[in-house]
Amino acid sequence: LGLALYTSSLCMVSGATFLYHDYCIIGAGPAGLQAAYFLQQAGRDYIVFERSHAPGSFFALYPRHRKLISINKQYTGKSNSEFNLRHDWNSLLSHDRRLLFRRYSRDFFPNADTMVRYLEDFASLLKLQVQYNTAIIHVTLEKNEQAWNGHYFLLTDQDRKNYKCSSLLVAAGTWVPNVVNFPGSEYVEGYETVSINPDDFTGQTVLILGRGNSAFETAENILGVTSFIHMVSRSRVRLSWATHYVGDLRAINNGLLDTYQLKSLDGLLEGDLEDLAIVKDKKGKLHITLRFYLENRNISAGIDSITLPQDELDNFATRAPYDRVIRCLGWKFDFSIYNRSLQMMPGKGNIKKYPQIKPSYESRGTRGLFVLGTASHSVDFRKSAGGFIHGFRYTTRAVHRLLENRHHGVPWPSTVYPITQLTNSIIKRVNEASGLYQMFSVLADIILLRENATAFEYLEEYPIGVLAELEMQTGRKAHNGLFVIIMEYGKNFSGADKDVFYYNRAVGEAQHAWQSNFLHPVIYYYKRLPTEREMRLHHPDWPLPRPDAIHHIVEDFLTDWTAPNAHILPLRRFLENCLSTDLRNFFAESCFLFAFTHQKLPPSCLQGYMRMQGLVGSQELQHHAVQAGLLQDYTHTDFSDDRPPYGHDGSQEQLMRDHGIPVRPLQHLVNTKDE
């Protein structure tokens, strides 16, 4: 910290002037602003660089047709603000209730302009430190042993102004359009520039390259005026309702699937764009051919000399010429501004559009460089929501908490509870927590047990990818075992080709909860923290290594996991068996009895009754407990008549008849060994 003070403001390094900040954030989009908010709240020295004159410049342009596909649910029937964030995909996290997106738009799928306006407000209302009109064009490192990470980040903007930071947060998004190069690709229009006026497409035949939401969005816009639209892409269409992945094709954009399958001339084709070639005929019509036909020919020689597939195969699918070919292939991260020393490498395979990062969102190549927002989606690509506002607002907070611990000695926020609150604290979180819900299988709540399991510490929304480093990353101790609470879909439920509407897809009984298909809470119990090696070797289909015990809370149609018997009871049994204790609640009267009959008391009595906070319970409740056979009524007992309990009371029998519950003598309460 002293170092930070020392190095703050201006400093001279080898003749160049550097403006110093502890934290530099590249990009004032949702992720950059979200990070800025947390840094500001923590009172850190930070700056946000934005190349445009206003925040959210990506949203000023995209999506081209202006309809956001992130939902903005006005009404959930609940006032719980945390719960409501589960169904608000656009708001950023803040303490300011004015900055909820539903106050900006009433549309379920809001307009992108609203997002721009929202981000402007977010930056200005919260007085975030954003330096606009500053495009960072180069980033390099300066070795310095005293720096937080052994080096400083040196940033250069378009005006050759230099900045120096201890930590660099890259929230630049993915904005470089993906292009394919094939013969004739010069005839292809890009999504970025193509006309969005349907009139420009009247009566035309259109080929769209790509099969993502932007491709379908483009098609949707012109569906009514074109002669036909064909859509070609290597991969098959993945529907988000089948995959639970919001980045796949959303139902709101899938009009073309409708017209294709309802024989209305439009169609989908599979094929590798790399094999494609386009030739233009004299009338300006575009013909599809294959690259290998052109291999030994000069494309400029004219269409007549070029073999078209239909010359050999007269029913070739795309033999009809097109008026326009539009490329909608998405974007990739801008790797170009990073000096090689930073080793900002693209990921492998289908995550090559993102830089390589660790599950802690720190760059694999450079310590102290964190990637936030859309660009950080490699961690959970095609799995969770980390590439979208409703996901990365939480991962950004997680990164901030990691930084607070690493650089400022502020351990991960936690609350300590007595063990009697264990079931409650889990139930509370799985029912309302939005971070667990949105970033399912990526962020987890962690419960660290204290010695003798009399108390525990609750940490929220920790990235499970770095579970092994928990002690180092959070500054908390995990010596006595831990629970990891995450949310999961069923293992075999979702997938591109699965029937997600099959009959009996939902599990209703708690004892079969592990077969739950819909998103449901899962609790992992580890007697000790998993090691790095275990984390590395665990099965890729599983979010975590093999636990010592696992519990699934059965999926719930209302995502309301507060049912006493189906949800809470099995959870309590699981926790009890992990901790080897009895977590039942007892009325004061039971504790009184135990005090005179047992040398040890159950946790509920120890932490409640014995601290003079016993649960006395109203008459009605005591009566119900007696009827349930869980409390004995001694009021009417004539002690001289040594009859066993219940002899005088027909209520037990009544109960048996009404509920089919076997009578359990109170001894079960008093003497657990007998069971």
Partner: protein
């Protein structure tokens, strides 16, 4: 079943053995006599013998003799010897001489000839035995031909003995033999009547009997109440064999209704021994007479098919439905008794008569039980709520709580509402959490109790609706009760969640703590509990700090302690000029505390020497404890915190003055008390019965004095009941106790509080269906298809491969497919959980 049969067969054999043991019999069954002279000279008086006179060579009689030989053994059991008398050629006496005689058999008793049988009547063993016994039992078995004969016999025997009426289509048959053999055993007990007249049989039975088969009726003449009425008759439903007749007679001889007063499981009657079910009519004191009549009625109907017992529920503790009125005990070993709720007696009869039905029920139940066992194994009752608080709250959830008195606070109105009220009580709770809801119920009672109390606002915040508000108010646990004064500082409640305790806290919190008293009158009134007036109805001990103006340090500490104890202790302070006068009244000098109990009748002066706040709080708490308290559920923890053993007097009601005086002497006697002397009023604290029941198997007499080592060892010692409770007796007992001379009556259980039931082992279930989760990920990883970038098609393949495995595991664990085998009761029992969403 077979065991039962063996038992009664062996008893029959024993019976027959008794009968046969009358004569001393030789080992050889068929005796051979060389000559008639020899034979006649050897006849014993009273002993029966059947003789055949045969010439040395008589080929025609050969097959007959074979039958005779085999019947000899059977007849021997009845003391009849069968003798083959050789007729020497030269003999021409009465039996040997006549050609005719050689075709006959002669029955002698002693040397008197009783009957002579033509050999064609003795065609086989049955006929020989039947005819011989018939002849011998001429007096015991009456042969009749008409209905009138039967009625005459019956009338003659009414009230005296019973009649066994047998019809055989012909004499000399196996049935005839069986009747005779039975008559041989039972002839002295019952009057046997025999007929071969089909007309007679038709006359006495209402429906058309099959005259070609034998019948046996038991006529209950002994029990016939009215001489004018014919005797009730009970037919033997089984074929006439000796065993069946024996069984029938046994059953008829058994009491009609057995009255039992012990555990039906332990009851055994002749019916059960004979392999018949036993029907219990469950009776209650109130309905005993009617029940007995019912039982008798049923017993008549079931005579010979089942036994009937009358079981008084008042005498036997049954762990069954109160509604059950009939129980059925089957002879099968290990079968539990079925308790049934039946509408009328016909159901009882059909239940028994329809043997198949019984069997079916048994079978069903067995299956059901097996299924239940399976279930048990499967879930071990894990899905049954065993948390008393959760269960009580969920049973109460349909009742609407009277919460009109309690303001609902939200994020919007929280601050504005609190700032308006001088004192606002806020209960933070979560609407899904059982303990919160239990407290909310008591809180609603507080609302009713404090209705109209000026200046107090009762309100609540549901943290499930307003998590932001709760975390902003730093509420991390539910429930939390806070009192906000003018919307500013707050006091968190730390007492019992009972209506009284919460109300008292709220009322006490109304008054500043400590309350500054301005005049001597106020101070005196305060000690009497009359000032301030708003607390006059509350009977708390009052604590008054008396300070001279100079002792500001002590006063500050006292004020600080007041903040901590606010709401729990009634505290006042007085530091006017005449403080010295006040304190000297109670022979202390300021700074001092005056502790007033029971409305100022006893005021204790305590000098204040330590000025640390913590110590003062500690001291005040300690001083407020009673010397000989009545232990109750709410106050026990305060005394437990002292960490001392308890000397506790259990009393059925209030303790007597003498006991109280002696105990108080004992408690006061030792200033540095090593134990807590207290008493428990079982009327007020009935759970005390539970304590006694745990420690004493038999009921100890009250009052009962116990020494309980609550914190060390947990031994429980019982003060000898023959000694009177006096200080001296207790002290000497305690000395012995300390010296280890007493034996503890009981010990507090040392058991740990383990999980009451196991959890679902999902890990094991998952591992057996998904081996990739197994503890050795390295091994299985190799078999996994590599995750390729173009994994979409590959993923499709694996998906189809996985499909069947998923199904098979589903079956394995009985998951989604299990509804197929669900029976109606199972569905009923489970429907609370709702099977599947898609079915809704």
């Amino acid at each position: 079943m077979s065991a039962q049969k063996d038992r009664w067969v062996s008893s029959l054999v024993f019976l027959l053995f008794c009968a046969s043991s009358i004569p001393k019999c030789g080992s050889a069954s068929l005796q051979l006599e060389p000559s008639p002279q020899h034979y006649f000279s050897g006849l014993e008086a009273g002993k029966a013998s059947l003789a055949f006179f045969t010439p040395s060579v008589s080929p025609g009689a050969q097959p007959f003799l074979e039958q005779v030989e085999s019947s000899a053994e059977a007849l021997q059991d009845y003391g009849v010897s069968v003798v083959k008398v050789n007729c020497p050629k030269e003999d021409a006496s009465k039996y040997c001489g006549k050609e005719n005689a050689l075709r006959k058999a002669f029955l002698f008793r002693g040397n008197r000839l009783i009957r002579e049988f033509p050999t064609d009547a003795l065609f086989d063993v049955n006929s020989i035995v039947a005819n011989v016994l018939f002849a011998l039992l001429f007096n015991e078995v009456k042969y009749i031909e008409t209905l009138a004969d039967l009625e005459n016999i019956e009338n003659a025997l009414k009230g005296k003995s019973n009649v066994v009426f047998a019809y055989v289509p012909a004499t000399g048959t196996a049935e005839h033999r069986a009747v005779m053999e039975a008559a041989f055993v039972y002839g002295t007990i019952h009057q046997f009547v025999l007929t071969t007249e089909a007309a007679l049989l038709k006359a006495i039975s209402h429906d058309d009997p099959d005259v070609s088969s034998a019948w046996l009726l038991f006529c209950h003449c002994q029990r016939a109440p009215d001489p004018a009425q014919p005797c009730r008759r009970t037919a033997l439903a089984q074929p006439l064999t000796l065993l069946n007749i024996h069984r029938h007679l046994k059953l008829m001889g058994a009491p009609l209704v057995t009255e039992v007063a012990e555990d039906p499981e332990k009851i055994s009657t002749v019916h059960l021994q004979l392999g018949l079910p036993l029907v219990f009519i469950l009776s209650q004191k109130e309905t005993q007479e009617a029940d007995r009549r019912t039982a008798e009625f049923v017993a008549w109907q079931l005579l010979g098919k089942a036994g009937v017992a009358l079981l008084s529920r008042d005498l036997v503790e049954l762990n069954v439905l109160q509604r059950s009125n009939v129980a059925l005990k089957t002879p099968d070993e290990g079968m539990p008794i079925q308790y049934l709720v039946l509408e009328d007696t016909d159901e009882v009869i059909t239940l028994v008569e329809d043997k198949n039905k019984v069997k079916q029920i048994q079978k069903d139940e067995q299956e059901e039980e097996e299924e239940e066992d399976e279930d048990e194994k499967e879930n071990n009752n894990q899905d049954i709520q065993d948390d008393q608080v959760v269960e009580a709250v969920s049973r109460d959830k349909k009742r609407e709580l009277p919460l009109e008195q309690i303001l609902v606070l939200t994020e919007e109105n929280f601050h504005s509402s609190l700032s308006k009220a001088a004192q606002a009580v806020v209960l933070f709770y979560a609407s899904w959490e059982a303990v919160s809801l239990a407290v909310l119920r008591s809180y609603s009672e507080v609302g009713a109790l404090l209705k109209g109390t000026p200046g107090v606002l009762l309100s609540r915040v549901n943290c499930w609706d307003w998590p932001g508000l709760c975390s902003q108010e730093n509420v991390t646990q539910f429930p939390t009760m806070r009192i906000y004064k003018e919307g500013q500082q707050s006091v968190t409640y730390g007492g019992m969640w009972g209506t009284e305790e919460m109300s008292s806290f709220i009322l006490l919190s109304q008054v500043p703590c400590p309350l500054k008293l301005a005049t001597m009158d106020e101070a005196e009134g305060y000690l009497r509990g009359e000032f301030p007036p708003e607390l006059s109805s509350h009977h708390h001990p009052s604590l008054l700090g008396v300070f001279s103006t100079a002792t500001s340090k002590a006063r500050e500490a006292f004020e600080e302690a007041g903040n901590i104890l606010s709401g729990h202790v009634r505290m006042g302070m007085y530091f006017e000029d005449d403080a010295l006068v006040l304190s000297q009244k109670y022979s202390v000098s300021p700074p001092a505390l005056l502790l007033s109990r029971s409305g100022g009748r006893s005021v204790e002066g305590i000098a204040l020497s330590n000025h640390s706040v913590q110590d003062m709080v500690q001291m005040i708490r300690y001083e407020l404890l009673d010397i000989f308290p009545e232990i109750t559920v709410p106050n026990l923890p305060q005394y437990l915190q002292l960490g001392k053993p308890f000397l506790i007097l259990f009393s059925a009601g209030d303790i007597s003055e003498m006991e109280s005086k002696e105990m108080l002497k004992l408690a006061k006697g030792r200033p540095q008390q090593a134990f807590v002397a207290c008493w428990l009023n079982l009327k007020k604290t009935p759970v005390g019965h539970g304590i006694l029941r745990t420690h004493f198997s038999t009921t100890p007499s009250l009052p009962l004095l116990l020494w309980v080592n609550l914190h060390a060892g947990g031994q429980v010692f019982k003060f000898p009941s023959e000694q009177s409770i006096t200080e001296m007796n207790i002290l000497s007992w305690l000395e012995k106790l300390q010296a280890g001379l007493e034996i503890p009556s009981s010990t507090l259980s040392e058991e740990d509080w383990k999980p009451p039931l196991p959890a679902y082992d999902f890990l094991q279930m998952m591992e057996s269906s998904m081996p990739e989760l197994s503890p050795h990920p390295g091994d299985t990883r190799a078999q996994q298809p590599p995750q390729s970038p173009a994994g979409d098609t590959a993923r499709g393949d694996t998906a189809t491969q996985e499909e069947p495995s998923q199904e098979s595991t589903a079956e394995e664990f009985g998951s989604p497919g299990r509804n197929l085998r669900g029976t109606a009761p199972r569905l009923a029992a489970r429907d609370k959980q709702g099977k599947r969403h898609s079915e809704l």
